[in-house]
């Protein structure tokens, strides 16, 4: 299976938007639908760098992309790896699939094809600030980021 022409156009559009707002993000393994990822670095206000990976769904743009923090290894305020939490409501985390932290950004009930990767990464950027807030204060991520209504 290959990307349809609409999906190819959408991927080009996504990367064009990212080049403006998240210029470090690049498209990898883009030939085969289901294997393509968009990966790049984000820097927090405190200057820490995070490598973020967005898995492009094979049915782009009709389902929620998986987003993971590839590095560094994230730990909570007490030093425990975040990935060990698995699915976590207070930390906005979903069950990890690749031993890296997976962020909950949009639920399927709130997803629409109008949402771009750029909007998703904006939420990830906010999650990173909330995570660093957790490291400073001990409050969980959802203290800073309220959940969307189910």
């Amino acid at each position: 299976m290959a990307w349809t022409s609409q999906q190819s156009a959408r991927l080009r559009l996504e990367m064009e938007i990212l080049s403006r707002y998240f210029p470090s993000f690049v498209l990898k393994d883009s030939i085969i639908p289901g294997r393509a990822v968009v990966e790049g670095a984000m820097r927090s206000n405190a200057g820490h760098e995070y490598v973020v990976r967005l898995r492009v769904p094979a049915d782009l743009p009709n389902s929620v992309p998986i987003v993971e923090i590839v590095s560094p290894v994230l730990r909570d305020r007490f030093g425990h790896p975040l990935v060990d939490l698995g699915t976590s409501y207070p930390m906005h985390l979903l069950k990890p699939e690749n031993d890296v932290v997976r962020i909950c950004h949009y639920s399927a009930s709130h997803w629409s094809p109008n949402i771009t990767f750029s909007k998703v990464l904006l939420k990830v950027r906010a999650w990173i600030e909330a995570y660093e807030g957790h490291l400073d204060s001990g409050f969980s991520v959802d203290h800073y980021l309220p959940h969307m209504e189910a």
């Binding site: 609409q6 959408r10 559009l13 009709n62 639920s107 629409s112 094809p113």
Partner: protein
């Protein structure tokens, strides 16, 4: 009561054309009501039959139209039938006018009794009572794809079969569970079966000549297969229970330029809506449900699998269970019925039929229905005697257009790059 035997006229015609006068053909028959009613076939029917299996033999009458009834019990070795059950013998012939005729006999060890044979009419006559309102022969050639064979999609399939639509592709990966029965066209004898196959049997009960293909798969995981099926059809009907499938099907309807009808109920089936997508001419599914009038209208959750697929994994089981709030079958039927009306209008487009005027009424592409004054309709006034206020149990066509910012049907998509 004289025993009654129903036999398909087309099968008898086939038999008359291809068997010798002295040849015996064995086919299945099914007995009902204490062996007083029989359904006979020359070959195993394509749907799951009911009733008690009964031995049935066909033969052609000789040139004089006679059969040796006296010697039938001996020649058929009737003593080998369990519990003395009768053997059904159908003697087929042609009348002097060339029409098929059938004489039915019930043969037991103690003798032979006559039964009344009735033909299930030929394909061309089955829907003769629809003639005038519908272009029956044309509908017989139409192809519909129905995705989702639950409480919404299954009655749509059945109604289109009743109207004489001839070709169906039924797509669903779900199986019929106990909780489905109260709202589904299929019953307890179909429990555990794929909904596609169970509904196929129901369709064939209404139209034995229908051509029904089934696909037991998840549309979100078989995109190209499903798009091929839609491309080979005249109309797409979407009664699935999640937005991901509807977004995918929306894209396929645009890609293949096929009109699509979407129906869904809102929470507890307090109401519902039907959307018609005329590719590139009217709004697409994304125009209406991502940003338009449909946004925020919460869909009915009828089973746990459906709720789990849209909720984040950390939502407590208690909350997931609380979201499963179903309405009555009678609350779903108006939505299914509207989909059928729109389907028949679309399938009859270009033909002069008795429902052509309905096309003049159904100018909107988005219709809203309320079953009860709750949820989105909580502020509506009571129906009373007023015609001028919004009310439950009436359809409302909403004026919706294409969303100029739609990320799916705005063409060319690359125009976004300019902004």
């Amino acid at each position: 009561m004289t025993p009654l035997v129903y036999v398909l006229e087309d099968q008898v015609q086939e038999l008359l054309a291809h068997t010798r006068a002295d040849e015996w053909i064995e086919g299945p028959a099914y007995a009902f009501d204490d062996w007083t009613v029989f359904h006979a076939y020359t070959e195993k029917p394509p749907f799951a039959p009911a009733g008690s299996l009964c031995r049935c033999l066909y033969t052609r009458a000789d040139a004089a139209g006679l059969v040796d009834e006296e010697h039938l019990p001996h020649s058929l070795d009737i003593t080998r039938e369990p519990d003395g059950q009768p053997v059904l013998v159908l003697v087929v012939s042609r009348t002097p006018d060339g029409l098929p005729a059938c004489q039915a006999l019930l043969v037991t060890a103690s003798g032979t009794t006559a039964a009344a044979a009735q033909f299930v009419p030929r394909r061309s006559e089955l829907y003769s009572r629809n003639a005038g309102l519908l272009e029956v022969s044309a509908l017989g050639h139409k192809r519909v794809v129905i995705v989702g064979l639950g409480s919404g999609g299954s009655p749509v399939a059945l109604e289109l079969a009743r109207a004489g639509v001839g070709h169906f592709t039924l797509i669903d990966f779900d199986r019929l569970e106990l909780g489905n029965i109260s709202r589904h066209v299929c019953g307890v004898n179909d429990l555990g079966r794929y909904k596609t196959l169970a509904v196929r049997d129901q369709v064939l009960q209404k139209n034995p000549y229908a051509d029904v293909t089934t696909m037991e798969l998840n549309v979100n995981q078989a995109l190209s297969q499903v798009e091929d099926a839609i491309g080979a059809s005249d109309l797409l009907i979407v009664a699935s229970d999640n937005d991901q499938s509807r977004f995918n099907l929306n894209q396929m309807s645009l890609n293949t330029n096929r009109v699509a009808l979407y129906g869904r109920a809102i929470t507890r089936a307090a109401g519902g809506e039907v959307l018609r997508v005329r590719p590139w001419q009217g709004p697409c599914y994304n125009c209406v449900f991502s940003a338009g009038v449909g946004q925020g209208r919460e869909e009915e959750m009828s089973q746990k699998r459906q709720a789990l697929s849209v909720l984040p994994a950390y939502v407590e089981e208690e909350k997931v269970n609380a979201m499963i709030q179903v309405g009555l079958s009678s609350d779903i039927m108006p939505i299914a019925n509207m989909m059928v009306k729109l389907a028949l209008v679309e399938l009859s487009r270009g033909m002069e039929t008795g429902i052509s005027s309905v096309d003049e009424d159904l100018v909107s592409d988005f219709y809203i229905w309320a079953n009860r004054r709750e949820e989105a309709y909580a502020n509506w006034p009571a129906m009373g005697y007023k015609w001028t206020h919004p009310s439950i149990l009436r359809w409302y066509g909403a004026r919706v257009g294409r969303d100029p910012n739609c990320m799916v049907c705005r063409t060319p998509l690359a125009a976004h790059l300019e902004t």
